[in-house]
Each structure stands twice: as C-alpha cells, then as structure tokens.
Symmetry: C3
Subunit: 468 residues, 3 copies
C-alpha cells in the first residue's frame, strides 16, 4: 500500500501500540489549530487576495524546500529565487525542477508536509513525480484562483483558532489593524520581536535605535528613556493582539547589572563605541529587562537563541537573509540564564518558553530547568527538529524530568501557510504514538494519555500564550 | 487494564521481545538489593525508630517530588519544607496538595516509584488520586506506626544486602558505629566524601580545613601533612565499613604537579589567598592524590562532576541546599582526566567509577575511556537519567563500545529509603528489556542475556565496590 | 535458536518491520563491496603471501579487539603486542586468552564481526568459547595456509570492487605500483593523507617538511613553494589511483588569510618558531588550501577531526601509536568550517565528506550543513559509532534534515581485512532495518526504500569518491 497519506502513517507497526495510538489520535485530530509562533505574512489575511501559483506559493518562499534542492547543486536562481515576480512559464520551470527532484525529500518531514498539502488541500490523487508534475501544477493553480482558496477561506477551512505572526518592534502593524477592523472573525495576532533593539550587533540596530526615538516621541538620552520607549512599543503590539514577545540572540547569556553599570553600558552602546563584550552584556541585560516588562504587561517571553545567521557569505550577499544558511550552534543555558532566573524565575506572573536547536540541552539543561523554575517552560522540538524523529527525541529526553505539564504543546514556526495543518497533524500523530508507547508499556493509562494529548494539543498552548 | 503496577510494565509491547524480557526478569527479580551509593540517613538504622507519616516521609525530604510541584507554582512552604516538624494536620494538608497534583508526575520515574511504594510497600489497592488521598494517608500512617515498618524491618523485608550512605570526612560516624555494634545483621556502610577538603571553593572548606587538624592531631603546615591527615580520615571511614570514596567537583579537571608546585599551591590555598585558577588546580591535584591513596587503601573512587549547585539564589537563601535547584552543566572528561589516567589509569588496584549528568559524554567520552583504561568503569545512568528512557539511552550509547563488563550495575543514589526497591525494580526491568531486544534481534543468546542480567544486578556491583 | 549468524539478525522483532527489512536486504546483500576509506596494508595485495595464523591476523593488529581485553586487565604483552613475530605457541596462548574472554564482547559490534569471520570466512560451525578455542585456532590456521585464503583470493571472494588504503604523502606507493602492474584485476587504490605536512604539531612534521623538498626537488622558501610541492605529491597519488584525500586535525578550525598573512605565518612555521595559535591557524589555512587544490585536481576531501591521539602516555611510550588510546573529544563545525565553506562550499567541483566522533554534531551541525552546502556531504557513523545502535542513531539524527542524498553510504575504516564483509553486512542490515521502519510507518514506499538502499550501498559511495 502506498505511503501517500496512509491513514495510520507515523504510528508504530507494533499492533498493540498502533491501536492505542489510533485511539488517542481520534481524540485530538479534529481539535482546532492553535499556532502561537510563526512567520506567515499578515497581509495575506488583511488583503485576502488569491495566491499566484504552485511554484511561487510552495517552492520559492520555503527555505525548507529550496535548501535541499540547493544542497544538490540546483542554483537558487534556477528556482526563481531573487527573481521578483515570476511569469507562469518561469514558475512552471521551477515546478518541474522540483518535481524531478522530489525523491531528494525521501525520509524528510518536508516530504510528509508536501504530500499532505497535495492530497488534503488540493485533493491530488497521485503522488508527485516527473510524470504527474504538469497535471499537479495545473490542478493546484486552478484551485488557487478560486474564492475558497483565498487566505481567509483556507484559514477557516484549516480550523485555525489562533495564528500568531511575528513583527519587528517598529512595525506599524497596519495589516493586523486591517484584520481587526474587518468583519472576518479569524484571530490573527502579532508577536513582539525586538532583536533589532536588544542586540547592538543586529544589522539594523543603528537604524532601529534612531527610528525608535522618532516613533515614540522620546529623547533617548538615558537607559531609562530607552526602556520606556520600548515599553510603548510593547503596548502598541499588545493593542494589536500580541500576547508574546520573541527573542533570538547568538547566545543565551543574561545579566543583572546595577543601575549605574546599566547606564554606563547604555552610553557606550548609544555612542556606537562598544566592544563585542559590551554587546554581549547589553543583550544579556536586555533579556532581564524584557523579563521585568513581561511581569508588568503580561507578554509571554519566547527565547530561541543559538543560531549562526547567514553562514554562507556569497549567498547572503547575492540573495539576502533566510536562504537556508542559518545554522545551529552549541548553546548553554544553565549558566547563561542564571542571572535572569535567579531574579525572576520564581515569579508567578512570568512565563518564559525556551527553544533550542541544540538537542544536547534537552535532558541536560532544559528539562531540569523547566522541572524546577515556575516561570520556565520547555518549548517544542523546533525548526530542524520539527520532525517525527526530532519530536520523539524531545518527548523521550524532556518528559521524564520536566513532566508533560512544563511543556507548551506544538508550534509550527512556518512561513508556509498551506503546510500548517500538515505540520500540526504530524505533531498530533507523534504525540499519539509516543503516548501510546507509554500506555503499551503500562507506564500510563489510556484515559490519562488521552487527557495529556488534549492538553498538549490545545490547553497547554492556550495557557502558555494566554490565548484563553 | 490499569497501569498501576502492571506485572509486565516497562517491557516492550512486541510479544517476542516481551516474552524474552519476562524470562530474563524472572532470573533477577528476587536477587538481593545491593545499593552502593546513596543518601539515606544512617540514624534511621542506628536508632530504628518509626517514621512519622506519609507526608514527612515521602514528600518533604524528596527533591524529586517537590521540585515538580514547585515548578508548577506550589510554594515550598506550602509543602511543609523548611517548617521543622509538621503537625499531623499540616502533614495532611501537604499530602492533599500532593495527591491533587499527582497527574503532574505522568510520564516521570517518580510516578513509577511512588506507585510501587503505595502498592508494594503499603499494599494500597487503588491508584492515588484526589478521591483516594485521605484513605491512603491514613493507611500509610497506620502502617508506619507498626514495628514491621521500622527502618531495620523494612531493610530486611526489602532484601537489601548492602546499603552505603555518604558522609563528609569529619563525620564521627556514630550511627554507623552503633549499627556495627548492634545485634542487627543489616550491612549499612559509609562512604568517604571529602569535597569540603578537596575543593577550596566549597562553602565549608575553611571550617573543615581547621577542624581536620584538630580531629587528626596534626599540624597542617605542609601539603604532606594535609594528605596524611586526610589519609587518617580515610582509615577511620574504612574501619566503619567504607569501601568507596565519592567526589563531586564543578568540573572533571585533574592535574599532576611536581612536588614543588604542589607545595606552592598548597600554601596559597592554606592562606586562603588564591585565585579561581588556583582553586581549580587544587581540586585537580587532589583528585590525583585521592587516586594515589585509593591504590594504597583500596577505596573505590566515584567521580560525579558537573553540577551547578544552588542555582536559584533566593530559594537557596531561604531554604538552603538540596531544594531541587542543582542543575547539570556540560562536562568534559577526555582532556580533563588525562593527567590522572595517564598516571594511574593502568593500575590493577584502582577502580574509578565515572558518573555524568551530561549524556553527550556517554558515547563520545565515557564508553571509549572505560573501554580502554583498566582502572575506569562507567557508572550507571544517574540522577535525572535514572529513568526508563535514561537507562535505555545509557545502554544503547555505552555498551557497544565499553561492553557490559566495564559497567558496574545500578545504584539508586536516593535519600528516599522506601523507594529503593522500586528503583531497583525499574532498573531490573529496563535491563531485561534492553537485553531482550538484543536477543530478539539475534545479537545475543538468551542464556548469555540472563548471565549478563545477573552480573549487572549483582556481581558487577559487588566487584566494583569490593563488597564481596 | 542461537544468535550465531542468525539469518534475520539485526532486524526488528516486529514481524511487519522484519519482513520489509528482509525484502530490502535481499536487494542489496549481494551488491559488490565498495570500501572507500580504510587502513588495510597494500603489501598484502602486492605480495599476495599467506597470512600467518588466527592470533596474528585477528587479535594482535586489531585495536578494537585488544582494547576491550586490555580494559579488563589483560596486558598488551600478554596479547603478543609489541613482541615482533610470534611463534605458533605464543600465538596459541594469545588465542586462548582471547577465547576465554570472548564473553566480554557481548553486545559489541566486534562480537558480530568476529562471529561473521568465524562462520562465513572460515566455515566454523560452533560459536567461539573456551571449549572450541583450540579447534577453531587449528581450523583457521589450516585454511589460512591455503591458496584460496591468500589476500587476492579473499579480495575476489569477498566481492570487493574497490578498496582504498591510506598513505602519508611522502610514501613511494611501491605496493600500489606493484598491484597496478600485476595481472590481478583487483582495484586497490591509495588515499592522500597529509597530516604530517598540514599540522606543524604532528610528531613527524619537521622530518616530513624536510623530506618533501628533497622528494619534489623543490627549494621550499615560500608558501607558494610549499603548496606547489604538496601539489606534486597529490599528482603522484592520483597517478596511483587516489581519488580522495583524508585529513585529521585536533579541531575542525579553518581559515582564509590574505596572501601576505599566509606568507608571514608560513615563515614562522618553517623556522619552527611558532605558538600553538600559529599552529592552529596554519592547520586551518591548509584545509582551505587543500580544498582549493581539490577543486583543481578533483580529489574528494575527507575531514575527520576531533580525536585526542595517544591519550595513555605510558602505553604510548612502550607500545607506540594505534593501541586503543585514541579518544574522541568535543568538536565544533559550524563556526570552524565557515571560512572554508563560505569560500568554496558552493563550488560544483568540490566534495567534502565530514565524519565525526561527536554524535552531538549529527543533528545540530552536520545535517544542517550537508542539507545546505552543495560541496558538503555527511560521512557515515564512524569508528566507535560503526555499530548497530551507532548507525541507527546516525540515520535517525541526520536523514530528516540532510536527506539520504547528502550522505555517502558506508565505509569500514578498518585494518582488519577479514572483517570487511562482516562490517558491510552489518551496515546493509541496519540500512534495511531503518528503511523498513520508515516503510512500516508509511513514511516511504517499499520500492522507494529499495532504491534508497541500493543508492546507499553502491551508487552514492561511488559517486562521492568518483569511483565510477
């Protein structure tokens, strides 16, 4: 039997475990999708225009997809990247390259997500191949031109209850405003991501620093002014639905300086006359300041540090950011977060969600930290680890120490809107299968497992992000 | 069927593997318990008084249990911690909080251990829940008041053959003396843990250093005097049954200095006029000195470095040590242990047992080291990793390189006396299941697997700790 | 049923997965062996003389085997190591020690490889034990004396299509020349391993540097001269069949210096007046130079950094290199390789194969790098990780991000010639079992899985090493 969307995919082939997994999955498969962290474009939902075509929608913007093709020697230009709006003919060419090389995705989550999109979203009967490429292109494009494939219609059809996007702190959030003011009931909210204000080495720091003063009508002479201005932006984001902030620094380092030291450091940063150590210290102090603000304004803090951005220099120069060359690096949390956690980690009003690309921290650092500090929760298997094996490792390495209730369910972190149901389905299946293993080994009762599965899918995420 | 102490719990649901696991488990389940490393209180066995009640016995002293409750926002004071002796009413309140939140332990080893204690030690028929909380509290307390629930009776009933406790090097060991002099045959021995003498940055170093001179009638002017005084304490511990020493430093660093450099370093330490680098070097040199003494006096050396103690500053200030805020950090062994191992690692009379909280060292460092150096053995999955998944990872990552015979069986490392049989049972089940997998995949014969299981459960631990 | 070469060994005991694994295995088990990276002795194939006896062939030269015996207190001298040519009586004694202690190998890949050699190569009916030791010794020795057990006959019987050995860059390659000039058709080729020229801290650097000038008739006054001389040696190796170079430094650090800085650095190195930092920088720059040469001459670059050589100082002094005391250390690739990869990682004519002993880099660094850079491929589970669990972890941690097609199949990396079919068989069985799991969970079709298995076994390795 073909693997193409088999109803029991991702479940163990052991009949006992499989049957239990099915029982658990039945209890969660139709729950609404809560997507608390992602990178879809809010203008889609604000303007609700039809997507163009299969290649421009599914290949060109998705670095999960084109990085695999690139790694096998297919140029980004051949894939239509950095070429502006493509003609239908150009798009068709891109699609054919993709289809011809679809075998490269064997064994990857991209393959499962794409198969799901083809089968479930576009109702395509045959798996993608060289032979079916043209017909699939045609069939997808035809559907994309219809009203019921407009962004809002898909959002509703996907049964999405909440979808968070991510914006930089100076964003005017006009798309979110438009969505809020529309008659459409879909809940699309923003997330406050101030890296360009918290990291002096961010490429846009200088420009953002200046713009912040103007935007908030503030003379930013002292650190207190700076914090006050940022606070205003947080308030603006909260007005537009934000319930969380999102932080990505090169390392997890935090600091807890005296007021005098903060001011001295700020003046160095402000004058752009600082060392790498100063920059590190500033980032670290800003995390602690963000935590302090979160206690006041209630934004849940998401930390996902430890990524080497734009590793491939010539590619970055030619094509810019987000071209598949952001790479994980080793990360350390226990020492790095100590200043922040000792200060605020016991606070009942703070929620910090910790993500990582360095799986070695699961059992060594994240689970022991989340299993102790009331403020800290373990975020899900993330990015490269948002995959069947990756999620299974997360469960096996985190739960025994942190328990299920110090985790926060799944997030898809995607800019590929159409893949959202696919990704949540994979997560629900893996949750079901992992829980089924515990039940099959008599470590948990089936009714408990079903409770946990519902909590992971729905309640824990709503709670951690204060959606409900 | 309920998971509550299912007879086949923790075995694979694959019928072939499960049957083999059962066969192996039958051969080891009734072997005596050998517990070579732990933190039970010797006064229990010296004085043999009844334990007070369920909450004071099972919740208040067990950081595995209360850290999970704390992580979900339940204050330590609410749990009776740091409150001195609790009234029965206070204890009952603590118990109810625990029972109400028992679902938090789903998927954790604590849940399995506690269920075992309830079912096997106290013969409680129903799983703990809000509904059964009061009755369980009552039932446990009634039994605890009986003679056959006194510490020595439980020790005998648990079929414990040897139980090691851990004491600091200036301890008078009066409880052990009392046990030795009693008519009771139970073997409760001490372990020599000299961190407060080997680590200048230990909070009690200064005070211990002074006390050591007085206690051993030594003028400690030179490094040789210091070593001689420590040697006397080792002898004192050996007289009271010790067969092992136990060492925990922030890192695994070792050194092998010249006599002149040792003396210079010692004088700095002695005068309390030293840098962090000096402290590190002193700890490193002391490990090598301890190995030298072990070759002479035969104490097995246990190393379990790599823990950030008392991470949560305000909690530590209020409640002191061992409150669930000791956290693993990255650790490195290959470079760190090279001076010690190059000097003594080939010695036939030395046994060093290496533990870790950093699982990344299993396949990269510990297994390759233990598979080469005659003196070095891999200790079991430890602390946060003393769990079904943790022990399985240990087996899968260590055995292929180190073999079974460079490991030393299980230890429970617990202060929760009643959980000892539960913990050993989990270990025996996981051993059985892991070995069964090898047999089911035709990588080992079933009779070989049974031999190995018996060795892991009994012979290897007795041998490594020189109990028999 | 005995585990001794069971036909379904290493497959899951789940009947569904096992049947699929069998189907896949049938498609690959008889494919020719391609062995692109190893340490067999080319003189065996040049001179084609009979091997001496079981102990001298299977125990004395194999550090996988004797390190386990040594770790359990059996001296290397007892095992005939460092004793020169052994008498038959001495060899017999070594063999008996080995057989008496064969139980130590339970659960290790060595046990599986040795069982295979006994059963398949020497047709021995009973598993090795104290009881069968003498007969096995006799039986193996008798066969080794026959013509059809000469190296070339075994090579042909093993169905080896290509076998690469490894030589240092000043080697005269006379054995390879002799093989090339013989009538025998077996393809035994060399590999260019220039660590003694690229690493100033290599014990033979000074001597090799001098010899290089003489051998290439070059006055090596400037960096350009040095590179030109190395290039000549690469050409010489290519004439003798080399298609790959092989590099092992203490760390993966690379550099991309200006011409002026290169020359300055070179003069320091040349004068042997350099710091550890200079040595590191030189190694790093030399990697980039090697990559530049590879783009011109086509040699595939193999990088396997991160090993602490000769860790056991007294053992090294007495017995020399390769005595089981080379140990893995932590390694970092993302930052370390950035200079090289940013310069050459997008080049279509370069292939770099990355190996590691630090499994933490699989999912964090190697898979994300290989899944992006066209030049980079992930080498197989290596050395200590060339084992059933090790290979399974590799598959589970690498494939989801890098895909199968950014890996390069298996290599045996062995000096134990007779174990080559055994090692490839283990790899093929684990590939089959891992793929079967994907099929059983409906993540891949069975026909796709068979395609992938054939690619992993044969096509990908031939392609990466340019054998075909």
């Amino acid at each position: 039997m073909s693997s193409y969307l088999h109803p029991e995919r991702l479940f163990s082939s052991d009949p006992i475990q499989r049957q239990i997994a099915q029982n658990i999955y039945q209890a969660i498969k139709d729950l609404p999708i809560v997507s608390p962290h992602g990178h879809t474009d809010p203008s889609w939902f604000a303007n609700n225009e039809n997507f163009s075509n299969a290649a421009e929608l599914l290949i060109v913007p998705d670095h999960y997809v084109f990085r695999m093709l690139y790694s096998q020697g297919i140029g980004l230009s051949e894939l239509g990247i950095g070429q502006g709006k493509l003609s239908l003919e150009q798009s068709h060419k891109v699609w054919k390259i993709f289809a011809d090389n679809y075998y490269l995705f064997r064994g990857t989550p991209s393959r499962m997500w794409l198969d799901y999109v083809f089968a479930e979203v576009f109702d395509i009967a045959e798996p993608l191949s060289k032979q079916t490429a043209d017909q699939a292109f045609e069939q997808i494009n035809q559907q994309l031109a219809q009203d019921n494939f407009k962004p809002r219609a898909l959002f509703d059809r996907f049964n999405i209850e909440t979808l968070a996007t991510t914006e930089q702190p100076l964003d005017d959030l006009k798309h979110h405003k438009k969505i809020q003011q529309s008659e459409w009931q879909g809940r699309v909210i923003t997330t406050f991501r101030p890296d360009n204000l918290t990291d002096p080495e961010h490429p846009k720091f200088k420009e953002s620093f200046r713009a912040l003063g103007a935007l908030t009508n503030t003379d930013i002479d002292h650190f207190a002014d700076y914090l006050a201005a940022i606070k205003k932006r947080r308030e603006y984001f909260i007005e537009h639905g934000a319930t969380a902030s999102d932080h990505s620094h090169p390392s997890a380092f935090t600091a807890d300086l005296s007021d005098r030291d903060k001011e001295t450091l700020f003046q160095k940063i402000r004058s752009l006359n600082y060392s790498p150590e100063d920059a590190l210290m500033f980032r670290g102090q800003m995390m602690t300041e963000m935590a302090a603000m979160s206690i006041e304004d209630g934004l849940t803090m998401q930390l996902h540090h430890g990524c080497y951005r734009n590793h491939n220099a010539p590619l970055y120069q030619k094509f810019g950011t987000d071209k598949g060359a952001d790479l994980p690096v080793q990360v350390e949390f226990v020492k790095a977060l100590q200043p922040l956690l000792s200060k605020f980690g016991n606070h009942p009003d703070l929620t910090i969600i910790l993500f990582t690309l360095d799986e070695t921290t699961y059992s060594r650092e994240i689970a022991p930290l989340a299993g102790h500090y009331p403020a800290l929760k373990a975020g899900p298997a993330w990015w490269f680890h948002d995959s069947p094996e990756g999620m299974t490792r997360f469960k096996e390495q985190v739960i025994e120490t942190a328990g299920f209730y110090n985790t926060v369910g799944f997030n898809d972190d995607t800019r590929a809107f159409l893949s959202i149901p696919a990704r949540h389905d994979v997560s629900r299946r893996i949750d079901s299968n992992c829980l089924a293993r515990l039940v099959a080994q008599h470590r948990l009762n089936e009714d408990e497992a079903i409770d946990v599965a519902i909590d992971l899918t729905y309640h824990l995420v709503n709670q951690a992000y204060k959606f409900k």
